[in-house]
Symmetry: C2
Subunit: 417 residues, 2 copies
């Protein structure tokens, strides 16, 4: 019988082996008060098991308040990596039940002064019940016509406040500048000041005109985040207008929202992780991206945000790279590779490091200010990104390549090298 | 034009007023790199505004890693309460967009070594687009037949591992013991070892038999958490079998899952908050329950878990009481009062304190071990809860009341007084 593995980091003032058993019991058949019916046979068949326990460092102070203190004064808090396994028979082919099991009533248990879900191995028995990414990297390349290099894109800014016509005017400029991809801001959905229908129609008119003129259909990710009916209507509208992508704020709609959107969608789904900091910001609380993104891949998003190197947020470069590699690594027996999306303070500057770190052509690189604030204008901003990519591919230092490429030189001057 | 208020606690090494303006800008029309189109008119119409800023204590060390350090060595981190207002025009009548706005890309901003959403005031313009609780307290009383006192209930234990027939046998015992309410564990949904259909049919047979015999229909919250179609099928099954409640793990299915379940459901929806510790456990990261529960009330759950006094988790009693009062307080212009559910290590012992703290008859009190582990058996465990409630209502100390009530005496002896 299949068992599902989940990996955690914990911190406890007590015995880590006891704490790990407690996690296993609470999230399966056991409780630490014996109740009738809790037979040895039932526990053997349905109990979660501790499959691994590796002690890490000790610390003086608890990472989170509210936990049981050490039994002896001056006692330390022990950190450990724990692997639990759960019987498939407890869970079934359900992502939501799996989520409740591996990320449910664990975080509040008072033996723990820290507990974070690091990773989960979603087996084919569960994944096969879901649509998985319908487009992924290949489908996105086919629709965008970009076959042999990373995709370059941008975000509509200001985030909110532009009318549909002003948005379309900006998109016309961005198309002319040579971008592959444009997306709505995560804050801009279907609002009184920019109704989705008017925005989609106005933007797709200029995108379609540009495609007719040049043969290049810029992919626009319209943010259709909303109630289920609203998302379905939004998707149908984008499809009818010749659009090639829809975007969803994954944490706002939740697993059921993402799953149902994928089941309905005939377009790539661009997964935005607005609010992700809640889960990730504390090193000993919440969920790491390797775990979270697997849920979203099985649910079927095609693009996943991974922040970016040297970003404007708090995430380290190492964490960004780990998340990116995850997106590009097939899940065993499942696959579900998705296109990683770099975004947040990205400019021509970070492209060579990004390429070196992941050693793949398959990424979408979003620059906002990095394009619009280029001293020679938006078109030069896009050319600078391409030049940075050419330099990265050739292994030529940016500063050297910039000597013969004026737009890259402008970008390095403006955004630092 | 309506503006939506959200309240936060922040911690920053820099100027709190600057940090508050940054939050407002990032979550609306502004960015801290000027872009074309960011006109004064646009900012005035669509910018979020700082409506209040109250300085709190200073601390030596940052609550979260990754934030910008103080500019001067030995500088402190300042905490503050911040109130922002967002134009309704940015958001529209959408809970998911509101969530992305008030709890989106804020938590990762690097000027902040702490940021938590404390509360949000959801206006009627948004709430009126949603079904709200269809049953709430009155509907639950009508269906359960308990009109003039708190409801007493329990959770099926062991959480997972019982077959449908074993579950039904346990429910028969619990019905005979005199309980008002029984719920599935949050881990038990529709699994290979306990398929929902078999479980609902087996359990409802004994519940219906008990109702025919005694006139009392015990309310059973079947955990139908799952994909949308699975939840709808589960609900229809419970309804067809004469059941009177369905349960959902809110964090696992997300906002869209809860909203769609409510739109479909002809029964009270019991909202379980498994995983809530992720959002709440750190005092300076995530979301406080007064904010989160408003989203779920507008989405339409009828019962909301609030933990319990003296619980087995990390939450303080003060936080539990604040959450309970929120559930019982109408949202201005909206209403949406819901039944608070106490659960986690609850026994006869905490009932008087619970009543004193909230001064209301409207609560559902779940005891697991507090019933099943009673030395005189489950029926005595239930009687002990009722006796504790009678003592609380009369203002009689438990120890005194126990002198003439043997089941209460047994409970106090077993669970402490």
């Amino acid at each position: 019988m299949t068992r599902i593995l989940a990996h955690y980091i914990i911190e406890t003032a007590g015995d880590p082996a006891y704490a790990a058993e407690l996690m296993a019991g609470e999230q399966s058949a056991g409780t630490f008060v014996k109740v009738p019916g809790e037979t040895p046979e039932l526990l053997a068949a349905h109990g979660a098991r501790v499959e691994g326990l590796t002690l890490l460092e000790q610390v003086e102070s608890p990472s989170l308040p509210g936990a049981k203190p050490p039994k002896t004064a001056g006692g330390k808090y022990q950190r450990a990596r724990v692997t639990l396994s759960f019987p498939f028979a407890n869970i079934g082919a359900s992502l939501t039940t799996l989520f409740s099991t591996v990320a449910g009533n664990l975080f509040e248990l008072n033996p723990f002064s820290g507990l974070k879900l690091l990773d989960v191995e979603i087996p084919p028995e569960i994944a096969s019940a879901y649509p998985l990414p319908a487009f992924g990297i290949d489908g996105t390349r086919r629709l965008s016509g970009v076959l042999d290099r990373p995709l370059f894109g941008t975000i509509i800014k200001p985030s909110v406040g532009l009318t549909p016509d002003q948005t379309a005017e900006l998109v016309a400029t961005l198309c002319a500048a040579g971008l592959d991809f444009v997306k709505d801001d995560e804050l801009q959905t279907d609002s009184p000041h920019s109704p989705l229908e008017a925005r989609v129609k106005a933007v797709m008119r200029v995108v379609n005109e540009h495609a007719e003129r040049t043969g290049k259909k810029v992919m626009v990710a319209f943010n259709i985040t909303g109630d289920l009916d609203a998302m379905r209507r939004g998707h149908d509208l984008v499809l009818a207008q010749g659009g090639t992508c829809v975007m969803v704020n994954m944490l706002a709609v939740g697993l059921v929202g993402v799953i149902e959107l994928r089941r309905h969608s005939q377009l790539p789904v661009h997964g935005h992780r607005a609010g992700w900091g809640m889960f990730s910001r504390h090193p000993l609380l919440g969920i790491e991206y390797p775990a979270y993104q697997k849920f979203m891949r099985v649910a079927g998003v095609d693009h996943l945000h991974v922040n970016g190197l040297g970003n404007k947020f708090c995430e380290t470069d190492a964490s960004v790279i780990a998340a990116t590699r995850e997106c590009l690594t097939p899940m065993p027996g499942v696959g579900a590779v998705v296109l990683p999306v770099f975004s947040s303070g990205q400019t021509a500057r970070q492209i060579p490091d990004t390429y070196r770190a992941i050693n793949s052509l398959d990424w979408l690189y979003l620059a906002g200010g990095g394009i619009m604030a280029h001293p020679q204008g938006a078109a030069a901003g896009v050319r600078a990104l391409h030049q940075s990519w050419e330099a990265a591919k050739a292994g030529t230092p940016l500063v050297e390549y910039a000597r013969t490429h004026i737009e890259l030189a402008g970008a390095l001057e403006r955004f630092g090298s």
